[in-house]
């Protein structure tokens, strides 16, 4: 069973709320910790690192996004890192956590968070939840899929045990092979490996050597990247790599030499093919999860798309007629989400100055999807981040990664000049101080976790 990343996303709160999942129970059951973002090391150049926090940077002034003021300040030799203006980033690095507040005037409202969780335990938790709601589990194998003569939609699946399962709507969650969507309906797959060359992952669990960090570490390697996801007493370590540029043994060596704690499991290999099913909903079959597509574990895109697909399926839930326009509308929305999430992931590989391996030479030189090329060009020239409501990653995320990957705009928004230089400097240094003080006032991550669980028991 392929596991699905090991972190939720800031959008997961909404998802959990909508589908009646209690976050405290989920976290308890999955030995979860809080996540304030991802630290990306060695992606742009070796030795360089940045945070992609789940929160805003600074404060917009006179309707002009904060990063333009930071860019302007940079010109006057002030080299304060961009991260210093994000409370989530500063608190993460100090190993602290607190839940955000709703009051928009408070600095504690400027961030969101996600959680790190044990993927296997996550699956058990969801299975128990579903069974509690009356879902029946049949453990068997599919040996045949029967289609209806008139419209080619799925009539039933035949199991090894001899049973036939009828259905009006089939949801294909059979993983990358896509038993129904591909095996039976031959829907077709769009291969994105040209943009996302990593296609294998080796995972090892280790003992924690220290208190859990409230963020994921993602360190670029010579042919991929290493992730370290802190759980309550363990760390999940993973080497995600491109099998075209490194063999399994060498990839395992890289992983093992990066480990900090005692190994608890043997390296487990998972292969995947970045891409997307041509139609995520075809006839009466909806592909959800890896059967629909996959981008790889970077930035929890797969979790994000999985939850988005479920939410949209409920939003476009069909009646027995399966109106074609309804299916088309679902596919249109999902295709947009997939390509936006893909572009966000591709940016991490494309925008690099690394030239120490064939893998990075390839990434640096590859051509990217037109939309991403436009975003990169707009940001590089004038710091503009075109953004759609409902995109998988918000404007702050794009700015964090664009800047973090070394794309520094040639010009900032001319309207930032409306504020006199000195006033701006004062403004920015006050913001920095405010964030620094706010971060120090937070409890440690360990303490935040135990308090959260205790308060749940009391209530």
């Amino acid at each position: 069973m392929a596991t699905l990343g090991e972190a939720s996303t800031p959008a997961s709160h909404k998802f959990n709320h909508r589908f009646g999942i209690d976050e405290r129970e989920l976290m308890r059951a999955t030995k979860a910790t809080f996540k304030f973002g991802t630290e990306l090391e060695d992606w742009h150049v070796i030795g360089d690192s940045y945070m992609h926090p789940s929160g805003r940077f600074g404060q917009d002034i006179n309707g002009v996004s904060f990063h333009h003021y930071w860019l302007k300040q940079r010109l006057s030799d002030n080299t304060t890192p961009f991260d210093a203006y994000s409370l989530a980033a500063v608190a993460a690095k100090r190993g602290r956590f607190k839940h955000p507040v709703d009051d928009g005037r408070s600095v504690y409202s400027t961030y969101s968070y996600a959680v790190h969780l044990d993927a296997t335990l996550h699956v058990s938790f969801l299975r128990d939840t579903a069974e509690g709601l009356g879902v029946q589990q049949i453990e068997d194998e599919v040996v045949d899929v029967h289609l209806r003569g008139q419209d080619g939609s799925i009539d039933s699946v035949e199991l090894k045990g001899g049973a036939r399962i009828d259905g009006e709507l089939f949801i294909d969650c059979s993983g990358a092979r896509g038993l129904l969507i591909e095996g039976a309906l031959k829907t077709g797959y769009e291969d994105w490996r040209g943009w996302l060359p990593c296609d294998a992952a080796l995972t090892v669990k280790t003992e924690s050597t220290d208190d859990p960090l409230p963020y994921t570490r993602a360190t670029a390697s010579r042919a991929g990247w290493l992730s370290r996801v802190p759980l309550q007493n363990r760390v999940s370590n993973c080497h995600v790599y491109s099998s075209a540029y490194v063999g399994e043994d060498a990839a395992a060596d890289t992983l093992l030499s990066s480990l900090e704690g005692k190994m608890l499991t043997e390296p487990e290999l998972r292969q995947f093919a970045p891409g997307k099913r041509l139609k995520l909903w075809h006839r009466n079959c909806v592909a959800i999860g890896a059967s629909g597509g996959c981008l790889g574990p970077l930035e929890s895109t797969d979790m994000l798309l999985l939850q988005a697909a479920i939410t949209k399926l409920v939003e476009f839930f069909p009646d027995a007629d399966f109106p074609a326009a309804n299916t088309a509308a679902y596919n249109r929305e999902l295709d947009t989400l997939y390509s936006e999430a893909r572009d966000f992931a591709v940016l991490h590989f494309k925008a690099t100055q690394r030239n120490d391996s064939n893998f990075w030479d390839y990434c640096r030189e590859m051509s990217v999807p037109d939309e991403l090329a436009l975003r990169m060009q707009l940001f590089a020239s004038r710091g503009v981040v075109p953004h759609r409501r409902g995109e998988p990653f918000d404007e702050s995320s794009w700015i964090a990664v664009l800047l973090g990957q070394g794309i520094i705009p040639a010009d900032y928004d001319p309207r930032a000049d409306c504020m006199p230089e000195e006033e701006m400097q004062q403004h920015l240094s006050r913001m920095r101080e405010h964030i620094g003080q706010a971060a120090v006032a937070l409890p440690s991550h360990r303490q935040a976790i135990s308090e959260y669980f205790e308060s749940g028991t009391a209530a």
Partner: protein, 497 residues
């Protein structure tokens, strides 16, 4: 390549779009060293006698320091709660497409599914019975929602006299330092290397140079069209009423705060209640109706014509293929215009200005900016066009050359897709840059006679009796509150004291 911020903007035009641009840019770019001037073309007149806003347009007056009271006192504006549709679906049809929200979502299910469910059960139920804005509009009532917490949340726009609004905006611009140059353009000097407009040579011999040119020359599109040769994408086959005759009636025909759209055999009338008069516009196609016949129709429809002469004007629906080319940005009718069935052209102008400031270029004129600007602008206008086309779709039963021609036109894919989605599952598709909200779209589909074959299946998970009761109570509460509201007319009169 040139570097540094731009230091001059020249706005070319003279109608409302030029002065709205001047006032907006002067306020939004205050504190920057940018000289803003308007080249006022002597032949430019406002093509439309009235301007209208949707609720979302009013935010654009805030940065100008102009509030509702000032707008009403200076321009004789009246409130607008939606659109009245008359004789579209049938000869005796009268309905209102209200602004704002209708009913309330039932869990995650949008309210209009509740209406669809009732219709499919054969019950007579009307979306508007659950819209506070529609109920107030029908009763001719109004109150400012922000000053009266006990009243239901009305959503409103305004209707203006174009000349008066232009004056208000030009005063605002001038006070904020915008300079005026008057004259006609003789020719444009382009940079031989990059094709940018360097300066405009005027007939007087003077020349006007600028870093950024804003083309507000209306349908003539003097810069974006004539100088930079950007093609016009013509939508007048889809929306054929490209000519209009404007007139004023001496009395207020309607006494309810909406603008009215009334279909006739040869086109349609737009009428707007003013304080004690009605502004009317007959829109038709010169291909099927002569100006004389049109004038007779105006006299018959209006009945009590005011002393002002009938005013003829032409404007085709469509847009420039690109609204930002080199160092020239087109706004208003120079960028695009849609037959004013749902009158959102002023909104299109203001949202263009807002986009331009967000994407303000430096001297380097970063090329991606124009791409982003064009995409958003064209999408916004296309959504408005499709919304207007729904009204044409309603009137497709009319058997006259004007309506037959409209009916025979192939429906654009974007609208076809929307209609099929609504017809098949009752769902409303929304693009990123919509002018009209979900509830307004749902009302428009229903008004066009499109009844969905199904409602959201999730609605069946709600307790039917409880939902019925809830909305019945809500409806009574709205009706009660509306009864206590002042008349729109009295409200306006008191505002002016």
């Amino acid at each position: 390549m040139s570097e540094g911020p731009i230091s001059s903007i020249a706005i070319v035009g003279g109608d409302i779009s030029a002065w709205a641009a001047a006032a907006w840019l002067a306020n939004r770019l205050k504190g920057l060293n940018i000289t803003i001037s308007v080249l006022e073309l002597p032949d430019m007149v406002n093509a439309e006698p009235m301007q209208y806003t949707v609720p979302e347009t009013l935010q654009f007056f805030e940065p100008l320091g102009i509030d509702d009271t000032c707008l009403i006192n200076r321009t004789g504006a009246t409130y607008r709660l939606g659109t009245g549709l008359h004789r579209l679906q049938s000869e005796d049809e009268h309905r209102i497409l209200p602004f704002g929200n209708t009913g309330a979502d039932i869990g995650y299910v949008h309210f209009h599914h509740f209406i669809t469910q009732a219709l499919l059960r054969g019950e007579k139920r009307n979306l508007n019975d659950h819209s506070p804005t529609a109920i107030a509009a029908r009763a001719g009532k109004f109150c400012d929602p922000s000053s009266n917490p006990n009243m239901p949340a009305l959503s409103y726009g305004l209707s203006f006299n174009t000349e008066k609004l232009t004056r208000l905006l030009s005063d605002n611009a001038t006070i904020n330092g915008v300079g005026i140059v008057r004259g006609r353009i003789d020719s444009a000097q382009l940079n031989p290397d990059d094709g940018r407009i360097e300066s405009l040579l005027l007939e007087s011999g003077a020349s006007l140079a600028a870093d950024l040119f804003v083309d507000c020359s209306g349908e003539d599109a003097l810069l974006i069209g004539n100088t930079l040769e950007v093609e016009f994408v013509d939508w007048s086959e889809l929306l054929p009423a490209s000519r209009s005759i404007a007139a004023t009636a001496k009395t207020d025909h309607h006494n309810i705060p909406v603008h009215h759209c009334t279909a006739t055999d040869d086109g349609w009338f737009l009428s707007t209640p003013l304080q004690h008069r009605t502004a009317c516009q007959f829109r038709y196609s010169p291909e099927y109706t002569s100006d004389d016949v049109a004038a007779t129709q105006v006299e018959r429809f209006v009945g009590d014509l005011g002393p002002e002469a009938l005013a003829l004007s032409n404007l085709r629906s469509g847009h420039r293929q690109s609204m930002w080319r080199k160092n020239c940005v087109a706004l208003g009718a120079a960028a695009g215009w849609v037959e004013p069935l749902d009158i959102s052209n002023f909104h299109f102008l203001m949202s263009g200005l807002s986009r331009l400031t967000t994407l303000l270029p430096t001297l380097a004129m970063q090329e991606g900016l124009a791409t982003v600007f064009d995409r958003a602008m064209i999408e916004e206008l296309t959504c408005v066009r499709d919304f207007g086309l729904l009204h044409y779709h309603s009137a497709r039963w009319r058997d006259t050359p004007f309506w037959n021609a409209a009916r025979e036109c192939e429906m654009p894919d974007s609208l076809q897709r929307r209609i099929e989605l609504f017809a098949g599952s009752g769902r409303v598709w929304l693009e990123e840059h919509e002018t009209f909200r979900r509830d307004t779209w749902a009302a428009a589909y229903l008004a066009a006679g499109i009844t969905p074959r199904a409602y959201d299946p999730l609605l069946d998970s709600a307790d039917d009796a409880q939902v019925q009761q809830h909305f019945a109570n809500m409806r009574r509460a709205i009706q009660g509150a509306v009864r206590l509201m002042p008349n729109h007319r009295d409200y306006l009169a008191q505002l002016r004291n």
